[in-house]
């Protein structure tokens, strides 16, 4: 069998192009950092970067979870309200004097259980992920409202690693986030569970034909999202110090934004958590830099919206051009 490829005399090797394709997001990030270093005083200080890390740590874990289900060609728009519920329970137990390790365990279990509700409805009830999680998001909001009962819960960090604490200027939550992303990246690439997520996200029916346990794997992914939300909830408590009626609601859209800006395909089966981390860093640094630049507050949204659109346009369009040259005709 013969394939026709017409080699161009001065084309860079396909390997280089592939490399470049994957380096686009890092390049954008570097450009962003350079820009703000010049334009915004105080941006590149250790203290500021640590702040950014601390303020985005809970979001990062949510985004990691959302990545898993987006890889499955699913979605979870309930992560924000879910975080609120777990945060309330965690904070309340902690304030009531429960030993911190136990609070951590219970939060993770509770998150996992809430995730299992989503997973059960999606897998067992065969409801599409978007309907399921739109519905449970609304339910979680109400649950938190009822639990909260007009009383804010004030609580400090449950354990230092889940609060704003730093060791030698390095925020401890940053390490937690890195560890979680590292493990997830490893799982996605090197464990069968991870490979199954990709296969299902590409074609669930096809995966089923090849003996991939589609239901079980999908269910596990939603549970895992919940467990990550459980950890994120405690980070939220440690950071914000108070749980109110709408805690966490604001985090859903940014979490999804981080995933898509990172370049994980919303169609499923393509992307990964490290890309999400890049996307998150891009957005978080952008929001921070814009404030430090002294942009009038109301203009923030304009700049952030425009920058995200431009960045994605650049990323997608360049990648597409490169793909063509690599020979991935479509």
């Amino acid at each position: 069998m013969t394939t026709t490829t017409v080699p161009s005399a001065f084309a860079p090797s396909a390997r280089m192009l592939v490399l470049l394709r994957n380096a686009l997001l890092p390049i954008l990030l570097v450009a962003e950092v350079i820009f703000f270093t010049v334009a915004a005083p105080g941006f590149l200080s250790a203290a500021n970067l640590a702040n950014v890390v601390i303020n985005s740590a809970d979001l990062a874990l949510l985004a990691a979870g959302v990545t898993l289900v987006v890889l499955l060609a699913g979605i979870d728009v309930s992560v924000g309200p879910m975080l609120g519920v777990v945060a309330w329970v965690g904070a309340t137990l902690f304030v009531a004097g429960m030993p911190p390790p136990l609070v951590v365990v219970i939060s993770v279990l509770l998150g996992g259980a809430l995730g299992a509700i989503n997973g059960g409805l999606v897998v067992g009830g065969r409801i599409s992920p978007i309907i399921t999680t739109l519905g449970t998001a609304a339910i979680f909001k109400t649950v938190l409202f009822i639990l909260w009962d007009s009383t804010d819960v004030f609580a400090g960090p449950v354990v230092p690693a889940l609060g704003p604490a730093r060791a030698g200027g390095v925020p401890l939550v940053g390490l937690v986030v890195l560890a979680v992303f590292g493990v997830l990246a490893y799982v996605l690439r090197h464990r069968v569970f991870g490979r199954r997520l990709f296969a299902i996200g590409n074609d669930a029916e096809g995966a089923r034909l090849l003996g991939v346990p589609v239901g079980r794997t999908s269910f596990a992914a939603y549970v895992l999202v919940g467990a990550l939300v459980g950890v994120a909830a405690l980070i939220y408590v440690g950071r914000v110090g108070v749980v109110q009626a709408t805690a966490g609601n604001e985090l859903t859209l940014p979490a999804i934004a981080a995933v898509v800006v990172g370049g994980t395909s919303i169609l499923g089966g393509e992307g990964g958590v490290l890309r999400t981390l890049g996307g998150l860093a891009f957005i978080a640094l952008l929001q921070n830099g814009v404030v430090l630049m002294g942009v009038p507050p109301l203009w923030n949204g304009v700049l952030v919206g425009a920058a995200v659109a431009l960045a994605v346009a650049f990323d997608v369009l360049t990648r597409r051009t490169l793909d063509k040259r690599i020979g991935a005709k479509k």
Partner: protein, 504 residues
Amino acid sequence: MTTRSDVRPILSVSGLSKSFGATAAVTDVGFTLGAGERLAVLGENGAGKSTLIKIVAGVYPPDGGEMVLDGAPHRPASPGTALAGGVSVVYQEPSFFPRLSVLENLYVGREPRDRAGQVDWRRMRGRGEELFRRLDVPVELLTRRMDALSLAEQQLALIARAVDVEAKVLILDEPTSILTDAEVRRLFLIVQRLSEAGVGVLYITHRFEELEHVADRFIVLKDGRLAGDLPASEADHDRILEMMSGRPVNAAISRSPARPGRVMLETSGLTVPGAVSDVDLTVRGGEVVGLYGLVGAGRTELALTVFGVLRPSAGTMRVDGEPHTPRGPRDAMARGIAYLPEDRKTLGIFPGMDTLSNITAVKLPELLGRLGVIRRAEERELATSWIDRLRIKAPSPAFPVTGLSGGHQQKTLFARQLATEPKILILDEPTRGIDVATKTDIQQRLVEVARDGTAVLVVSSDLPELLAVSDRVYVMREGRMAAELSGDDLTEDAVLRATMGVHR
């Protein structure tokens, strides 16, 4: 060739039945497949072949019946358990993972692992390369994304995946419908080797000429029931045809001599980067022109360029004498060109929609009243007439197209193009998956359409078909026009020589 009478049965089924609502797809079917035996499954479109093998593969639970696999009862709860039990399948509608690499596609669900349970990428890669080398498929393909492959390449990858599984039973559902001779022959070799190793092979095909190469025995299905079970040596085409349709069928088409008219389509120096270089071609009204070549020769791209999907980088096209520079399919259609794509799953059908609107999709502008309102009675009439004419097996025009068998989906698309009464008709693998009797019908219709003045260009990997319908044949090789054959020069041998680049 192995003999069969003495071998132990590896798969035996009896009394299998399966209905979809009111449609009885498979009724009371039984047969036995011996270890190392190659069994062909024949039947008209919609006879229940795919349904039968899907029951064996665990996709559908049977409504009734028994299966025994290698001495043990076979009641697969899912395709996964069937696969684990040793049933490996290449389905008729290719199912793969578009955004994964070919290598990953090969090992989904059975990734090689190291002792720590990690996916062993190096071993995977090694095994993939070895597999492709063994099957004579270019190893470079392994790193490409699956959706970047041509349909035929995808099919090869899927076959590779199926044969790599250590299976007891290998099932191939029309694997050759878009492969050309060379690939087909390689596939036969693989099948033969596996059968020698004791694997039972179930092989579905509409190409009778393949029978002697791939089958020791064949069964025939008619309307879901078993209509015959014979050794391959007794394969007599007329008799098989009669078993399939229950009536005598004329397998040959009648072809009056062509009276070529004006040049309707002309390309000169046409070049599409990476696919087509410097191609000259003419098609006249009233003639059928065939286009042959190996997979990847650039035939599809040439057709897509004429149809306005691909943009040429050099060269010119003329339609009916006027320059033709389409900016998209709409322009091409406005010039009276119709194109039937080869990949019906992604380029052809509208999967969520009914058979009716799938048939009238292109014709729609002519069925509109004021304000763009569809004249529904007229539309239904049109669709029904085509359903009748091509004998599309659909319970009603409103039946979802994805509920039709593969061959009938293909007929639906065929109807879509014919309904437009084009001046230039380009068909890419038109009879893909269509049963013999209907195929003859369609071929006959093609010739008639041409004799009525239409310029017909047929891209087909089915050489006998191409020779049967074509007045002239072009052969493409690596993007270039390798030969133009007509009259007495148009022989199977000449076409194959041009294809391989062998000169007399």
